[in-house]
Amino acid sequence: MSYDVQGTLLEVCTCDVNCACCWTGSEPTGDACDRVVAWQIDTGTVDGLDVSGITLAMLGMLDQHGAPVKSMIFVPSSASDAQADALVELWSGKKGGPMADLARMLGEIVGVERTTIDYRDGGHLVIGDRVTADVGAAADGTPIAADGYRAEVPELGVSLSVQGQRAVHGAFHFAS
């Protein structure tokens, strides 16, 4: 059980403040936070299986305290079944290491969907017909969903369309 995946991540949520309210323990704007996170794996292996070039995404709900409730995982149709299984196991925390810690923040995983995931330039994300997010920079340079963030995931009871909420992008590196 070893893995090493790295690349860039994008998170867009429905809050007004810095993203990742669930991480800092501050409370989300409004009654809850519905966030989408995409991890673009530039280079990666899971138990020796190459997963480079795959972008994995998830839509997760946080309650009014920023606590994770449930999530849905999206894996690109272009990935093989073996790659999809390996990544879902890794993201569910079953491979130990840092992802076992981070997976706690996903809450209950209600489903895994194979779909198209288009993620470009650290800012443009389209997940099938479920999610679109276009992230640009605000006047002061901070990343925001300038051109909107829309999501339709009935499995989670999520139907939203917002504009100008906060986003975060940066690098990730999970290894164990």
Partner: protein
């Protein structure tokens, strides 16, 4: 996924660790600084003492560590909160938070040691030269000008950005196979980015106001805002301009 991984109420995590590990030490440090500042031994915390009495270097370093605890520790709270959340299901999350703080403190202590050593060397060189008055006149403005120019460099920008996104920082640096050591290393990495953000201000502190409570409160607040409030991008350049103006005023 297995629900065994989740703590019962991950959202309503107790904040007791924050009070015990961050707020209490910082408050105690401020009280120590205030107490020393108003007592005769307060001078041991000030770097002027170094110039006249070399043997007080260890005391100045202790003063530096107290100052870091007061000024820098509170601004790491968001990172520590993210980290505490991430490792919340492990058996000893608070010990891991302490390891992060230890790594962070180790970097700042090392930097303080280097600053004190550098200060002593500069003073030795100045004392040995015959142009003491000329050198003395230019050291402080040169330091301020260097600090001011640094505020506008890409390195500074990169370090601030890294500080401002604790979630990304943890996603990048947390390993957890050897938890305490990995937590210490995460603290060291955060410490270096933090030094990259704030060394100019701490150097200014060292030059003008170590042991001066008012300066420490003001500069500590500036650093806290700059590190954690992404929309305060005007702050870094403003501080840079202030330092350059200060350098010019001191020089001419």
């Amino acid at each position: 996924m297995s629900t065994a991984f989740q703590s019962p109420t991950p959202g309503a995590t107790s904040r007791r660790w924050l009070y015990t590990l961050v707020i209490l030490p910082a408050v105690v440090a401020w009280m120590v600084l205030w107490w020393f500042g108003s007592s005769p031994s307060g001078r041991y915390f000030q770097h002027e003492e170094l110039a006249t009495n070399k043997s007080s270097a260890p005391l100045v370093l202790i003063g530096w560590v107290v100052m870091i605890t007061a000024m820098m520790l509170p601004s790491t709270a968001p990172l520590l909160a993210v980290f505490r959340r991430v490792v919340g299901a492990r058996p000893d999350p608070n010990r891991l938070v302490v390891a992060v703080i230890a790594g962070y403190g180790a970097v700042w202590t090392l930097v303080g040691g280097i600053a004190i050593l550098g200060d002593s060397i500069i003073h030795l060189l100045v004392d040995a030269s015959s142009t003491t008055s000329v050198a003395d006149r230019w050291i402080a403005p040169a330091v301020l000008a260097l600090a001011g120019v640094y505020q506008f460099t890409p390195l500074k920008r990169r370090c601030v950005t890294s500080c401002q996104s604790p979630f990304v920082f943890v996603s990048r640096h947390w390993r957890g196979n050897d938890p305490r050591w990995d937590a210490f290393r995460l603290g060291v990495a955060h410490g270096w980015f933090c030094v990259g953000c704030c060394w100019t201000i701490m150097l200014t502190m060292f030059a003008v106001g170590m042991g001066n409570l008012g300066w420490m409160l003001l500069l500590g607040a500036v650093m806290g805002v700059e590190k954690n409030v992404a929309s305060a991008r005007w702050l870094g350049p403003t501080v840079g301009v202030g330092l350059l103006v200060g350098a010019a005023v001191m020089a001419f």
